[in-house]
């Protein structure tokens, strides 16, 4: 579980366009090896590793070593802090529908 104070880390991690593209590529792939992520990315494997480290520290990706390779996938819940505002309104409107229903029952009989 990531704490609320990790919000800043999530935002900072995704503010960098290269890192954001990398995160989206991992999301698209489901799971991807570092070598495959480096291939065609236009950045060195060292730079890719640094970006992965930042994403991992922000709780956005998880790694799985297999033999000499390391695979990365998107970490469940990592984006939850960004969706909080939407969640807030999702709950808000459903509650309000309930209140609207009760009000109509009262005034329109």
């Amino acid at each position: 579980m990531k704490e609320a104070n990790d919000l800043g880390a999530v935002v900072r991690a995704l503010a960098d366009p290269t890192r954001r593209a990398m995160f989206e590529r991992i999301a698209d792939a489901g799971e991807i090896a570092v070598a495959d992520l480096t291939h065609g990315s236009g950045v060195t494997q060292g730079a890719v590793s640094q970006h992965l480290k930042t994403l991992k520290q922000a709780g956005l990706v998880a790694e799985r070593p297999e033999g000499r390779k390391v695979f990365y996938r998107v970490a469940p819940g990592g984006l939850a802090p960004l969706a909080d505002w939407i969640d807030h309104y999702d709950v808000f409107w459903r509650e309000r529908f309930g209140k609207l229903r009760a009000l109509l029952k009262e005034i329109d009989t």
């Binding site: 609320a4 919000l7 800043g8 999530v10 935002v11 995704l14 366009p17 954001r20 995160f23 989206e24 999301a27 698209d28 489901g30 998107v74 469940p76 819940g77 990592g78 984006l79 939850a80 802090p81 960004l82 969706a83 909080d84 505002w85 939407i86 969640d87 807030h88 309104y89 999702d90 709950v91 409107w93 459903r94 509650e95 309000r96 529908f97 309930g98 209140k99 609207l100 229903r101 009760a102 009000l103 109509l104 005034i107 329109d108």
Partner: protein, 154 residues
Amino acid sequence: MSNAAIEQDTTHDIVVDEVFPHAPEAIWTALTSGDLIGRWLMPPTGFEPVEGNRFTFKTTPAGPWDGTIHCEVLEVRPQKRFAYAWKGGHEANVGYGAKLDTIVTWLLSKVDGGTRVRLVHSGFVLPLNETAFSNMGAGWKKVVPRLGEIASEI
């Protein structure tokens, strides 16, 4: 923010769609009368159901945001469609209280035994493409267990 980054952003809509056992006229009144809005949504300040009218709601502040929602009536088509801008939040906030430039649209249509009420709250900007979010799953889907709690209260 660069243009490339803006192009990568995506927006998300919240949709709630339910059938009410009431005529469109009754629902329209509940949606567009200031006193009644105060009883099911929040008390509005300065509200008139007239296109171009500006009004506000007061909600919980967060960080540099004072909690005021600034609204403007955009469309009034009696018993059919009612839309208002819904703006608030602050750039310095993340999550609750983040900057918001959205539109709330109510769509009413007559159905057997009542009225279908469709709410679309559109324009939530997500700083990632949709694939990243949908593959992610956990974001707003974590709300589902909470919906069960709310439904049981209604």
